[in-house]
Amino acid sequence: MIAAPSTIPAGGAITTQLLEISIGPQHPSTHGVFRMDVVLDGEVVRALKPVVGYLHRNHEQLAEKMSWLGSMPYTDRLDYFNSMSNNWAYALAVEKLAGIKVPERAEYIRVIMAELSRLQNHASAIGFLLQDCGAWGTPLLYAFKEREKILDFFETVSGSRMMCNYFRFGGVRVDLNDEMLAMARKIVAEFPKFLDEFEKLMTTNEVVLARCQRVGILPKELAIAGSISGPVARASGVEYDIRKVDKYGVYGQLEFGVPVGAVGDVYDRYYIRVLEMRESVKILQQVLRDIPAGPVQAVEVKLRGFKIPAGDGYGRVEGAKGELGFYLVSEGGPKPYRYHIRPPSFINLTVLEDMCVGHKVADAIIILGSIDIVLGEVDR
């Protein structure tokens, strides 16, 4: 625990007693069961220690007791805002380990699913961020209206809105027929209209500017040293997007930009997500335009008794929160020997204290909101 609240002289004649509060597991804006032990001097944050582990269900040990396919549905429960990217990360790691070739159409479908889940994740992320700033639910519910359409599409395709369990090693489970493709094209066509309305509501709003600009600045060197990935790092100027670096799936053949910020404060992290959504819409338009015909599942992958030659390997994907990786060790048996997840939300929390010290309590809350963590992924 943090040191007892001694009367540390706050640089003035009057020594004020420090107030130690825990913005605890049950708190309206910690995005789940997450706790921050904050030492306050009046309203200013002096020290902040994140405490995690309330949602820890030891998913990695469960995976050691299950077959390779058995833990695929569990990956939906990691970052339950985009289960498609989680599935893809796990499938990619296994395919890299076992050397499985994925048919062309399945790769295109994977990009559609991952980018749609990125859209609804970023929409909800900025909705929650502005909810923490105090906009009483309006931006969040506009974002959720768009998210509903995307979740309905996921339900039509994979069967469940959030727990899709849609990817298989070597492809996807269900093929997209024309009616589903038409539904996806309609969603992508309507998304920019929502973005424009959202930007007019929030981006130039003086109160949002006053609250978000110059707050929680993350310098570029600290972002790289702290292994920060995803929009949080790109907002600080780190030019690193795994879709461009690894060129996995068909991202190599698609043209899209990766927005990079300069200052790295809460406003940049908010606006980078808006720009990333616009880029995702561009990707979706390209992919939906030229999706080839063909099989959606590699033939040689057996459903039961699927074995991987002994050895270890690390596969990673640009999830909506950052770099989501799977480190798998196999002994040649049907069960993984070691199954480790590289959770972006968990690692992005390393620098939470550096960003919050010196700011007010209200700022600490929106800085946490701007990192956009999901506790399923932090605690695993």
Partner: protein, 168 residues
């Protein structure tokens, strides 16, 4: 005198007594506020509504809040571990001073009959206009002096606050 006067003064006296005897500082301040409201009610009773409102505005609105903030900065406010006995050791000296003061006041209070204190119904028009005229006409010098004093106090507060911010 009418009933209202007795009720209000009883409430005011109760507030004053409680303000002195209670252990918990916060309760004392609340009793003090009760006392201030009692005084304001007296003013309204005497149809001096401007004074009553100013009393509420200044004392209840500002001074009481100031005292509350001061209390917030002190320790052990709930008076659990304070001195137990109510009357200090040298209580009799306090009582003597109070007695002499009472005698002097008695002479002033009883010199003119209570009735004159209550202006007749119709004569009581708004006292604000008179006060305004008197302030600007007769007492304009003192008004300006007080104004300068208050601005000086305001600027002093700002300077102290700025020092505090520079240092931390």
């Amino acid at each position: 005198m009418n009933i209202a006067f007795w009720i209000i003064s009883a409430v005011a006296v109760l507030g004053a007594v409680l303000a002195v005897t209670l252990r918990n500082l916060v309760h004392c301040v609340l009793a003090l506020i009760l006392f201030f409201i009692g005084i304001a009610a007296h003013y309204f009773l005497l149809r001096a509504d401007f004074l009553g409102t100013v009393q509420i505005l200044i004392y209840v609105g500002a001074v009481a809040v100031l005292i509350l903030f001061a209390i917030m900065l002190t320790h052990n406010v709930t008076g659990v571990d304070g001195p137990k006995e109510l009357l200090g050791v040298k209580w009799w000296s306090g009582a003597a001073i109070a007695a002499t003061l009472a005698i002097l006041l008695k002479k002033a209070i009883l010199s003119d009959p209570l009735a004159t204190l209550l202006p007749a119904g119709d004569k009581a028009q708004s006292s604000v206009a008179e006060i305004g005229k008197a302030l600007v006409a007769g007492w304009v010098v003192s008004l300006e002096a007080i104004a300068i004093l208050l601005t000086a106090a305001l600027i002093g507060a700002v300077v102290i606050a700025l020092e505090e911010i520079q240092k931390s």
